[in-house]
């Protein structure tokens, strides 16, 4: 029993230490963000490489998620003769939950890991030390632009995901299942609220998720051990930690934004 308590104590301590040092790292990144934005070319290049490499994955996933949602909802709604509500159902579940969360999880797996292993390998091959010797701060030159790029890409990708998912839902519902096209759109337009479902959910959630994933990814890369195993472990930690962070933040944000904690 004593042993167990001590284990828990150490795990909790570890966790808090991790959170503390990642917060310090975040302050450091935020301090350099304005100057990094002035060198927009570097940031733009990173947005291109981080965002563009996830784009196809996000689009294809969005399409399938939308199609599945429509298929499932249709079979429930048809029992109550309420298929006119299909558009609403699909749009709300995509905008409120699936869009931001699935995009974030996919992004963590696709781009987060790439960021971590790129920065980790640069550390392992002394490229970061080389940069420091050329009087260039690798946090400012390498880490901050990647952090910004990740944080900016996720909201954009989330919007694309949602738009394509709704189109996928439309295709299954209207074209395949024969739901009335007018009902699909008009019901959706009446029931989707700009503030609640788009601003609060899609925009705020995706910004928070994007920031969290990018922060974890660059942090793990920057502090990875300079060995092959060190980098591979850091990459794994990025996926695990950022996925957990996304799910936990999703709960927190939903509770705060919609159920007025």
């Amino acid at each position: 029993m004593r042993f167990l308590l001590r284990e828990i104590y150490y795990i909790a301590l570890d966790f808090l230490q991790g959170v503390g040092s990642i917060c310090l790292f975040l302050f450091r990144l935020l301090r350099y963000t304005p100057t990094a934005l002035l060198r927009w070319r570097i940031v733009w290049q990173q947005i291109y490489s981080v965002g563009a490499m996830s784009l196809v994955l996000i689009m294809v996933s969005g399409l399938f998620v939308g199609m599945v949602m429509a298929l499932e909802s249709y079979h429930v709604l048809v029992k109550f003769a309420a298929t006119a509500a299909l558009g609403t159902g699909v749009a709300l579940s995509i905008l409120r939950e699936l869009g931001p969360v699935v995009t974030a999880l996919l992004f963590a797996g696709r781009a987060g890991t790439a960021l971590t292993s790129e920065i980790g390998l640069m550390r392992a091959t002394e490229q970061l030390a080389g940069m420091e010797m050329m009087a260039v701060d690798p946090v400012r030159r390498i880490v901050v632009p990647r952090f910004i790029a990740g944080a900016v890409s996720v909201p954009l990708l989330t919007m694309i995901f949602c738009a394509i998912a709704i189109l996928g839902g439309y295709y299954v519902g209207v074209d395949l299942m024969g739901v009335d096209q007018g009902a699909f759109w008009s019901q959706m337009r009446v029931n989707v609220d700009l503030v609640d479902d788009i601003l609060k959910s899609v925009v705020i959630k995706s910004i928070v998720f994007g920031g969290a994933i990018s922060l974890i990814a660059v942090y793990e890369g920057y502090y990875s051990l300079p060995t092959a195993e060190g980098v591979s472990r850091a990459t794994t930690r990025t996926v695990v930690n950022s996925s957990l962070a996304v799910l936990a933040l999703d709960y927190l944000l939903t509770a705060l934004l919609f159920h007025g904690a």
Binding site: E126, Q127, G130
Partner: protein
């Protein structure tokens, strides 16, 4: 020694009483080294004595546990990060493994310090980059990626990058390993020419006794965390100490240990058999 003495001394780097340990292994124990301005100083010693570590100490990449490190009259432990970076803008550093940016071309690698620290227009940058690459004989390789270079070529590109900003002090970590005789000769001459024509101060870390002796003005021999000998190449050549003679002549037998410290060999083998 009083502080103002150091400020006006003509030593670019002055290390006094340096102690440095990694884990519980003492790498330096009260080491004293001074690097005179405008000269080529070599630091030699067996593999693993801490030559690379000494360069790291001199450039502020690691901090000494004890002792003082003065570079250009500044106590390196007291500098803020910005002051340290200002100092490093006057330094060139050739890493033992090159440390090239693997995702950029040779050209972009050499252009990097110019783009970061100058506002030169693109055509001037191009001029400087091609000039530096020409000096190391790799102008034709400008568009290759580092992965397409051999080890010796990568080292020469790294050298071109290290001198891109015309530094005042240049640190070479093992500049001669992996070079064929011709590029070796070219690099040896380049180090000499750079030093004399630009008024640089050069610090070479190496264990290639012959090449280093042919180019350096003074050499330090370090071992076991201490300076074993100091002098011009001729002085070291004629040094009476058995240790120095063994090292300079590359003899197998003598006081210099070839092995990393280890438990008794026979005992270890027998011990493993029992286990």
């Amino acid at each position: 020694m009083a502080i103002h003495d150091l400020k006006h001394s003509d030593n670019v780097v002055e290390i006094t009483g340096l102690k440095y340990r990694v884990g519980n292994k003492a790498i330096f124990d009260r080491l004293n080294v001074s690097i005179p301005r405008g000269k080529i100083t070599a630091i030699m010693g067996p593999s693993g004595t801490g030559k690379t570590t000494l360069l790291r100490v001199m450039t502020g990449q690691v901090l000494a546990d004890r002792g003082r490190v003065w570079v250009e009259g500044k106590n390196i432990a007291r500098l803020s990060i910005d002051e340290l970076y200002d100092l490093r803008k006057q330094m060139g550093f050739l890493f033992q493994n090159g440390a090239l940016f693997t995702d950029n071309t040779v050209y972009e690698n050499v252009a990097f310090p110019l783009r970061e620290h100058t506002k030169l227009p693109e055509n001037l940058i191009r001029h400087v980059v091609l000039m530096k690459l020409q000096a190391v004989g790799l102008r034709g390789a400008a568009n290759l990626m580092p992965a397409e270079l051999s080890g010796g070529m990568a080292r020469r590109v790294a050298l071109a990058r290290a001198i891109a900003l015309d530094p005042k002090i240049i640190f070479y970590d093992e500049p001669f390993t992996g070079l064929d005789p011709i590029s070796m000769g070219v690099i040896v001459r380049l180090i000499r020419v750079l030093n004399d024509s630009l008024g640089l101060t050069s610090i070479i870390v190496s264990h290639d006794v012959e090449e280093v002796s042919s180019v350096s003005d003074h050499s330090y021999l370090i071992s076991d965390g201490k300076v074993v000998a100091y002098g011009t190449p001729e002085e070291l050549e004629h040094n009476k100490s058995a240790w120095v003679r063994q090292f300079m002549k590359g003899l197998a037998d003598g006081p210099v240990p070839f092995h990393y410290p280890a438990p008794d060999y026979a005992g270890q083998l027998l011990g493993e058999e029992q286990a």
